[in-house]
Symmetry: C2
Subunit: 435 residues, 2 copies
Amino acid sequence: MLIGLHLGNGYGSQPGAWRMPGVDPKSYTSFDARVQQAQAAERGKFQFIFLPDGPGAVLADIATEAPAFNLDVMMTLAAVARETEYIGLVATGSTTFNEPFNLARQFKALDVMSHGRAGWNAITSSGEDVAANYGRRIPSSEDRYGRAHEFIELIQSLWGSWGKEAWIHDQESGQFAKRDEILPINLQGQYVGSRGPLYIPPSEQGQPIVFHAGGSPNAHDLAGRFANVVIGAAFTIEDAKAQREAFRASAVSHGRNADEIKYIPGLMTTIAKDRRTALDRRILLGGDLLIQRLGYLQQMLGIALNPAHIDEPLTIAQLEAARGSRYDPRSANALKIAKEGWSLRDILAHGVIDYHPVIVGPGEEAADHMQAWFEAGAADGFWISPDVNSDGIDAFVNEVVPILQQRGLFHQDYEGKTLRENLGAPEQYGIDPRI
Amino acid sequence: MLIGLHLGNGYGSQPGAWRMPGVDPKSYTSFDARVQQAQAAERGKFQFIFLPDGPGAVLADIATEAPAFNLDVMMTLAAVARETEYIGLVATGSTTFNEPFNLARQFKALDVMSHGRAGWNAITSSGEDVAANYGRRIPSSEDRYGRAHEFIELIQSLWGSWGKEAWIHDQESGQFAKRDEILPINLQGQYVGSRGPLYIPPSEQGQPIVFHAGGSPNAHDLAGRFANVVIGAAFTIEDAKAQREAFRASAVSHGRNADEIKYIPGLMTTIAKDRRTALDRRILLGGDLLIQRLGYLQQMLGIALNPAHIDEPLTIAQLEAARGSRYDPRSANALKIAKEGWSLRDILAHGVIDYHPVIVGPGEEAADHMQAWFEAGAADGFWISPDVNSDGIDAFVNEVVPILQQRGLFHQDYEGKTLRENLGAPEQYGIDPRI
């Protein structure tokens, strides 16, 4: 089982994380904080940290909430690379709004700098708010994915343009490199082009690993062709299973082994000694925002809910009338929680409206969830998004990881010092020869 | 007097540096080496390190020489930022082949990360070999500089788009930031555009400092408008003086104080206890390459030179016939050295064909050169390019810096912890209000 840590703005996944006791309110700009968080994940043998990015998204809630992303994902990973030893370093890099040569260079430099621990989450950008920061409009889906295919092929070609054995650096003979093993790539497509070569020798893992995030047929195709890991999003075990199968089938259709692509959905966590303590933590975290979400819950359950009864469970009549909305995949879970007799506040504190499945409870509940999905073939692992980074990573490391290890589901230690070794990803240098 | 360290491929400015005894032949990919070199310069109170970049230049001499540049300048500076405290961190970033939003973000993230020590050397790219890596041709000079003006204005606008006092992060009240002080920039020019804002609060120095490198009328104009420091290149005190005056005049024409722009030409150094020891070091460094340059020397002096007499001085007849080439600004110096009676090998070992003035001798010679230029109004400082970084930086720090300090030419310690403080650059946030 693979485990990654989702590392956004430094506070944690809950909007109220920046206000929690013990949290440095300046973590948004603190590279120290990011380094400590990565080190905590490394203590827990996480295979990687993952830094999402949506370059320049709108700051709708900036008055009360921190932006979702790092100041700059590559600069952050550079800092972390120098102060960790085993953990993989993965960041999102848009194929829509980057110069390919620059992106190729930075990820391969990171790979060298980290001694073979870099991964690139190659995505397409789809928000007009992002495009506006680049003075442009979002291209059509066809153009975005067309460019993404060319872009990744070009990046991998650049990564392989300095021959694997080209760097001699023999002081005695004076040969620095084999000139005829450092070759131009001369790719010119419809969207991007480059002559090359890139002047960076291989890292300990050869070159970075390609990740992808998305769930559309276009994403299945792109990831099936290029990716070793998919950062997924699924609310139910059935959906995750279907997604995982789609990516595996796509890999096979591109001439690869299905096991070369790992599907890793998200899991948000509030880990505490028991459910009640965990719920109280979420209530503290949620603040007023929690109650403001009652409207969403109404829609999910299809019944009217009265804020005046926030600390009471649903009545029998309400429970009988409640129907999970067919338009929201989270509804079934919300209804299940409601039927357990929790108060409205507690139902919301279970995170039933969050963007991924949520564990609010003791470590064993997280381990059970992960084991069930893993053994059902719904996931090759999980990316974990703790509620508050400052103590939430430690809580997962201390309370969940040992259980997974005892159950034989998670490794006792790193298999090696490169991301390829720790993900079990195949050797690759340059573009995939089977494509 | 300002002093910067030129930090290219990690070995040093001489092509043979990577082969020298005591040099790690893998320094090209070693971030440890860059960090140590920056720390050595910081021990010598250098105001900044400067990482040049010409994204993806041709590797003509890769068989025997290291590439000239860092794997990636921003990733390198990120590493150095975490492991130094005072020294400025300056890198070249092309206005021709970058997405402005990405560049704005990385330099401001570096500025935050280093607590106010970032500088951006804003240049235009002019080599077709560079353009080819981006799948394009080099634009006309008019278009390159037109884009550069828009580009820098846009970058500085993005840097100022998060209000100076906008970040509240008050855990008690729950106000994260002042929404109405984080504003879009809505710039759309002929070449580049962006809506913004950039979501990064100010650093301890507000925002990075703009550098420029170049000597054309276009460069004078661009630097006079935006730059606080010019990375110059001049072989003679007269040329440096004229360049410095041109930049100062341009600053004034843009409504600025002439002292707001500092002109800093280069100085290459081989520092040893005496001239003979320094020459022998250069001869060892130069290897066969030194003698291969005899052809250049012939052209510079306008006389035939016989490789068989490499260890003999020029004959009286040769000296009488020698005329410094009017096409090479280095000729006068070469002729002067020749007349001092040095052998052909020693003349070449003086670095008479190098790209900048060269000191090959004891620290006092370097100090004398710097004092003469500085006091003549030909330079506000120098960027130093040691022959071999591993011990050449230390040699300058130990042998030249103390003399400059004793003469009252160079500071005894850092004025502060930001680059603006240490350069004496004025406060600035957002675009320059006088433009």
